[in-house]
Symmetry: C2
Subunit: 372 residues, 2 copies
C-alpha cells in the first residue's frame, strides 16, 4: 500500500463514516474489542507515558503517544466543553501510526468518530470483566455525543438491551433515544439521575462539564453495581462523590495518568487501584463477589487509540476507504532535499515565455542560472 514513499494513507471523516457503515457498527465494535483486548494482554510490551497536556482556560489539547517497539502511534485530542455553544465538537481528534524502524508515518486518520468508538468499546470491554453476571440494564447519565456509541458497544459486547437514560438537557435524551430506535433496545427516558439508576446493573456517567461535579451521590449506588465513569477525565473534572470511590473496587487504565485525571484524583495518591490490563491478562481479579461495587475510572489511554488505529489500518486494503496524502518529502536522492525544490521549479519556469525567471523569485541577482 506504500509503493510511493511520499504518500501515506489518510482516512478522512467521510471515509471513516463510510468505513463504519460498510463494516457495520456492530461488527466494528466487536472486532475493535478484540484488538483492544489483544493489546491490553501485551500491555507490558508498550512504551507508556502520561499524555502531554496543554491546559487553558477553555479546555485542553493533548498528545497521546505510545509504541510497541514496531509501531508507534499518537493521537491529538482536544477537550473544550464550551465548544458545543459555537457549533463545534467538545472533543475532536486525529491520529498517526508510524513505523518505528524508519520513523515514517504509515497512517493519518480522523479520530473524532474513532475515539467515540474506542471509548465505548473500552468501557464495554472493562464491563465484560467487571459488571455483574447477566447484566442487561444500563443507566446512562449524560446523553451527549458519546452516548449512542456506549449503548451499541455494551449491547454487542455485553448483551445490554435495556437503557435508562438521563441528561440535564431533555433534548439530548430525546436525540439519543431517537438515534437508538430500532437497534434492539428497550429505552426509558428518565427525568432524573435517581430515576435512571433504578434497577440498573451498570451505571455509565458520561457528562462533559469541566469542573468538580457530583453526578452520582453515594445514596444512588446500591450494592452489586458496576460504574463506568467516563466523564471525569482531566484535573478538576470529576463526576462521582468521593464516598462512592471509598466503597468501590477501582480499576484504571494507566495508574500514573488516572491519579492526575480520573475520579481518584479525589483520593490519596496511594489508594489501591487495579490496572485493567492485569485483569484482562489474568494477573488480577475483576469482579469477585455479587455485592461488590466495581468502578472503571476511565480517562482514556494511548494504547486504546493505538489499537483503534491498528484496526482501521488493517481494514484499509479490503475497503479502499482512504486517500493518499503527499506528506513526506521524497527526493530521488535522499540527501538532495534542496535539489528536489530546485527541480520543482522547472515546470513553473517553462510556463513563462520570453522571460528568464529565477526559480527563487524576486531577490536573486542576474547571475543566477540553475540547470538541473
Amino acid at each position: 500500500m506504500q509503493a510511493k514513499l511520499n504518500v501515506i494513507p489518510f482516512v478522512s471523516v467521510d471515509h471513516m463514516m463510510k468505513l463504519v457503515l460498510e463494516i457495520g457498527v456492530e461488527r466494528f465494535v466487536k472486532e475493535l474489542a478484540t484488538y483492544i483486548e489483544e493489546d491490553f494482554r501485551r500491555w507490558e510490551s508498550f512504551d507508556k507515558t502520561p499524555r502531554v497536556a496543554s491546559h487553558s482556560t477553555d479546555g485542553v489539547i493533548e498528545l497521546m503517544p505510545t509504541s510497541d517497539g514496531e509501531t508507534y502511534g499518537f493521537k491529538y485530542v482536544n477537550g473544550h466543553p464550551q465548544n458545543t455553544r459555537f457549533g463545534r465538537q467538545t472533543v475532536t481528534a486525529f491520529g498517526v501510526l508510524a513505523d518505528v524502524g524508519s520513523g515514517y508515518p504509515v497512517l493519518l486518520t480522523e479520530m473524532t468518530i474513532l475515539t467515540a468508538l474506542r471509548t465505548a468499546v473500552m468501557s464495554a470491554v472493562a464491563a465484560k470483566y467487571l459488571a455483574p453476571k447477566g447484566a442487561r440494564t444500563m443507566a446512562m447519565i449524560g446523553n451527549g455525543a458519546q452516548s449512542e456509541f456506549q449503548a451499541i458497544a455494551f449491547k454487542e459486547i455485553l448483551g445490554i438491551d435495556r437503557l435508562r437514560i438521563y441528561d440535564i438537557d431533555p433534548s439530548a435524551t430525546a436525540r439519543c433515544k431517537k438515534n437508538l430506535e430500532g437497534l434492539g433496545f428497550n429505552i426509558t427516558a428518565c427525568a432524573s439521575t435517581e430515576q435512571a439508576v433504578e434497577g440498573a446493573n451498570i451505571v455509565t456517567t458520561v457528562t462533559a462539564d469541566k469542573q468538580y461535579a457530583t453526578i452520582l451521590t453515594d445514596n444512588m449506588v446500591g450494592p452489586g453495581i458496576h460504574i463506568n465513569a467516563i466523564g471525569g477525565d482531566c484535573p478538576g473534572k470529576t463526576e462521582l462523590h468521593r464516598d462512592i470511590l471509598l466503597r468501590s473496587d477501582i480499576f484504571v487504565e494507566y495508574t500514573p495518568q488516572t491519579r492526575i485525571e480520573g475520579e481518584i484524583q479525589q483520593l490519596d495518591s496511594d489508594h489501591p487501584v487495579v490496572e485493567l490490563w492485569q485483569v484482562i491478562a489474568g494477573k488480577a481479579y475483576g469482579r469477585t463477589a455479587e455485592h461488590q461495587i466495581t468502578l472503571f475510572d476511565s480517562v482514556g489511554f494511548a494504547i486504546e487509540d493505538f489499537s483503534a488505529m491498528r484496526y482501521v489500518r488493517d481494514r484499509l486494503e479490503e475497503t479502499g476507504l482512504f486517500e493518499e496524502l503527499d506528506l513526506l518529502a521524497d527526493p530521488d536522492e535522499p540527501r538532495d532535499l534542496f535539489g528536489m525544490i530546485l527541480r520543482a521549479a522547472k515546470p513553473a519556469s517553462a510556463n513563462v515565455e520570453g522571460f528568464k525567471v529565477s526559480p527563487f523569485g524576486h531577490n536573486v541577482s542576474s547571475q543566477v542560472s540553475i540547470d538541473q
Copy 2:
C-alpha cells in the same frame, strides 16, 4: 479561510515546494527569521516542555508541542540515520497549528522541507548575535540534506558568501556545491575538516551519525570562531570534542532539553550556558570579545517550529498553495456525532433498489428502520 468547520488547510510537500519557489527561498528565510526573532523575544509567554521522544535501536520519533496561549503547535519528527540507505530521509516531519480557544486544528503542514528551512534560519539568527563582526567565510562539515539551506540562510541573514565544505562522502560535497552554484557563493570543496576550517569565521557542523563523534577536535578551533553545532541533537549523539566546549561560551535554545540532547550532555549538568532568547531579547550578552569562541549548541526547539508554521499559515491566503482536508467531524448538531453517521448512510441505501439495507451492514435484525 475556515468557513467549513470540518476542513483544515493542508500544505503538502508539493505545495511547500511551490510556496518556497513562489516566495523565493531568499525572501522566505529572511521573513522566517523575523518570525523566529519575534517569538524568541516573547519567549516567556510560551508553554515550554522538552520534546517527548520515543527512542529505538534505529532512531527516534519525537513530538514537540508548544503554545503561546492563543495558538498551539506541535511537530512530529523522526531521526533515523540509516534511512538514507533505503532511499528514505533521515529526518521527516509534519506539524499542526491549533486554536487554543476551541482546540480545533487550523493547519496541517509537511515539515520535512520546513524543518530544513527553520533549522537553517535558526542557525543564522543565532550567528547574527554570536558570530564575529564582518564574518564572510563559513566552513560546513557535513554536506547532507541540511547543508544548502544553511548556506542560503547564512548568506541572506549574515552575508556569508564564502563556503568551505567537507563531507566524508565526496559525492555529498559535489552535490552541495552543484546545488549552490550560481547563487552567489564562492565555494571551496575541501578534502578534510582541517582544510575546511582554515580561515573560516564560522564553523557549522551538521553530520548525521547517531553516536558520540568528534567532528571537531580542540586543535581545529582557533580564537574568535563561532561554532554552529547542529548535528549533536539527541542523547548519545555529539559532534564536538569536550575540550572545545570548555573553551567556548555556550548558547542554547531551551536548557532542560539541550542538557539531554546537545553537545553539553558531555558537561556537568550545572555548566553555565545562556539561552539564546535572552540575547535576542536584550537580557544577556552575545559575543563580547574578538577572541571569544562562541558555540550555538543547537538541538531544535518547538518554538522554532511554531514560528515556521505561523509564517506558512500567514502566506496561505495570498498564495492559495494549500488544499482542504476533511479532518474534523462536524455534525449539524454538535452532540449528534452518531446521527451524522446514520445520515451518511442514506445515499448508500438509495443506490440499492428493491432491497432494504441497514445502514449498519450485515448484523442488524430486520426490525431496523432509520428515518433521518
